[in-house]
Amino acid sequence: MDLQLALIFLQQGIASGLVSGSVYALLALAIVIIFKTSEVPNFAQGEVFMAAGYIALYLFVFQQMPIWVVLPATLVAAFLAMALFRRIVLDQVAKSAKDLVYLVIATLGLSYVLKGLVRRTGFGDTPRSFPALVPTDSVMIGQASVTVLDLTILGTALAVMAAFFWMFNYTKIGRAMRAVGMNPKAAQLVGVDLGRCHMLIWGLSGVISAIAALLISPKILMTADMGSIVMLAFAAAIVGGFSSLPGAVVGGFVIGIVENLVGLFISSRAIVLAPFLAILLVLVIRPQGLFGGKLTIKKV
């Protein structure tokens, strides 16, 4: 490989990595906001993302609904599903068992139920693709070729993240969420409604996953197993330290770029191992992640 080609590969890898990374970043964000407030790694996040993609596909392609109905309907469905799961299932689990392990197992259960439901509908039998809503003409940036769709994905993802950060940092509800993340009991004492706050967080996390699904669906083949990309989002969250929102975003882009460079320079078969190796590297070099704060020990 001569230098010229390596440079082209590098630019292409970074450009494509920013696009797929933006989706990982969104999913990682969805995972981290839940983890910050509930201390639960939500293993159903990938299936929520997958199910949202299928809801959109069903409404748009099978029911021929106009897109301005499909998009909000999908987001609302994702919000309600996650908020209700938190309210109906997890609150009951938390009541009957005090240990976190039980909550984690319940999210695993949800991931299986969602996967099973989508398989039952029969949409998952053949890989489908969501029609692209924006043109897929190529644009050259430097020596990398990207499509208008790619730029739309990246732009939308960044806009969603910005809106979310604004909400989290500058609104009253965002402050309440951060308070719950720091100390739920104290937050409750100063008047935060814990149950509502948890529902909102889970619902928002569902919305973010749905946005990620809507963005990426035109680019990938949809199957009932497409939720497995959540592994990369978990890797992104770990790289970012698992409790930092900017960390999750940076981690998403890092994982996206690493994945694309591995695919271009080494082999596409090795891509599967990229998230695992990234997780291991971070754990060995900097266990608290790039943006993780100081380690604290949990008191009884």
């Binding site: 909550l103 984690v104 259960g109 991931s111 299986y112 191992l273 997780i279």
Partner: protein, 327 residues
């Protein structure tokens, strides 16, 4: 942090008449099976006993230590491949190959655990999840060793001059090794080590104050759990002639986890009972594969909501309520 489990005190209590009757019935069934049934039932019995051992391994790490491991299928697979390859390579009695499988799986487990446990326990769940996925990829792609996506033929297990060629021949050995592992798990659970496992689960701060090295305890629990899963892999090789990477994915980990949950997290009897009860249920579910995922997931959710202590504790509580009225 309160988890209801069989406390050591309860474990030392005299065995209740019900439990004794259940044990006697189980022994009777185990002995009578090969006499009265056909090959397929024996095959299922063998498989269930292997899953009992897998559940014991997961019990050590989740039930006793409260650590969340999601790579159980990977360690099981390492055990299967390692014992099968060792069995093929050297002409030694099969238990040696089984021990080799357990040792390799245990060593890999120690390594992964030592890396992942440098951090909060959530990292163990994530790292093992990633490791499980990566390991399945290795099984499917390391052609020169595992024969990749074509699957690997397992040569018959040998005990000196005796070659095991049928499920029925393998059955007594499978029963023996399963009982052995139940004994080993009970011994570990009642030892000083087992007590330190539970201390770590109940309260890390208190455990530290008692002078328990938490990180070391967790890593040991994780390594032990992996070794037991690897041993189960060796048992699998007793009666199976073929292994395919597809059956070593996250699905299998979830199956084992569901068994432990149905039986009741934290009790050895629960892990064993859960493996058998849910193993039989999933055998019935084979008739309706399209509902399998929904049912597994639904069972996990419902148990977490209403019966976190498992099926047996749930039934026991209902019986007690019926007898004494609600209190």
């Amino acid at each position: 942090m309160t988890t209801t489990t069989a406390t050591p005190a309860a474990a030392r209590r005299a065995i209740s008449p019900q439990a004794l009757a259940a044990l006697a019935a189980a022994a009777l069934v185990l002995v009578a099976l090969p006499v009265f049934t056909s090959g397929y039932v024996i095959y299922i019995a063998n498989l269930l006993l292997v899953f009992v051992v897998l559940c014991l391994g997961l019990h050590i790490v989740i039930g006793e230590t409260g650590q969340f491991s999601m790579a159980h299928a990977a360690f099981y697979g390492i055990g299967i491949y390692a014992s099968a390859l060792a069995n093929r390579a050297v002409d030694l009695p099969y238990p040696v190959a089984m021990l080799f499988g357990a040792l390799v799986a245990g060593a890999v487990g120690l390594f992964i655990g030592a890396l992942a446990l440098r951090m909060r326990d959530i990292y163990l769940a994530l790292a093992t999840f990633a490791f499980g996925e990566a390991m399945q990829w290795v099984f499917a792609n390391w052609d020169s060793v595992t024969n990749g996506p074509n699957g690997l033929r397992i040569s018959p297990a040998r005990f000196g001059p005796l070659e095991i060629l049928s499920d029925k021949q393998a059955y007594p050995f499978v029963v023996f090794f399963c009982l052995l592992m139940i004994g080993v798990t009970i011994a570990i659970s009642r030892s000083r080590l087992g007590r330190s496992f539970r201390a770590v689960r109940e309260s890390e701060v208190a455990a530290m104050a008692m002078g328990i090295d938490i990180k070391r305890t967790r890593v040991i629990a994780f390594g032990l759990s992996a070794a037991i899963a690897g041993f189960a892999g060796g048992m699998f090789g007793l009666f199976q002639t073929f292994i395919h990477p597809d059956s070593l994915g996250f699905q299998t980990t979830i199956l084992v986890l569901t068994m432990v949950v149905v039986g009741g997290l934290g009790s050895i009897a629960g892990a064993v009972g859960g493996a058998i009860v849910f193993g039989l249920i999933s055998e019935v579910l084979r008739q309706a594969p399209q509902y399998q995922e929904i049912i597994y997931g639904g069972i996990l959710i419902l148990f977490m909501m209403y019966a976190p202590r498992g099926l047996f504790a749930f039934i026991g509580d209902r019986i007690r309520e019926a007898r004494h009225g609600r209190r």
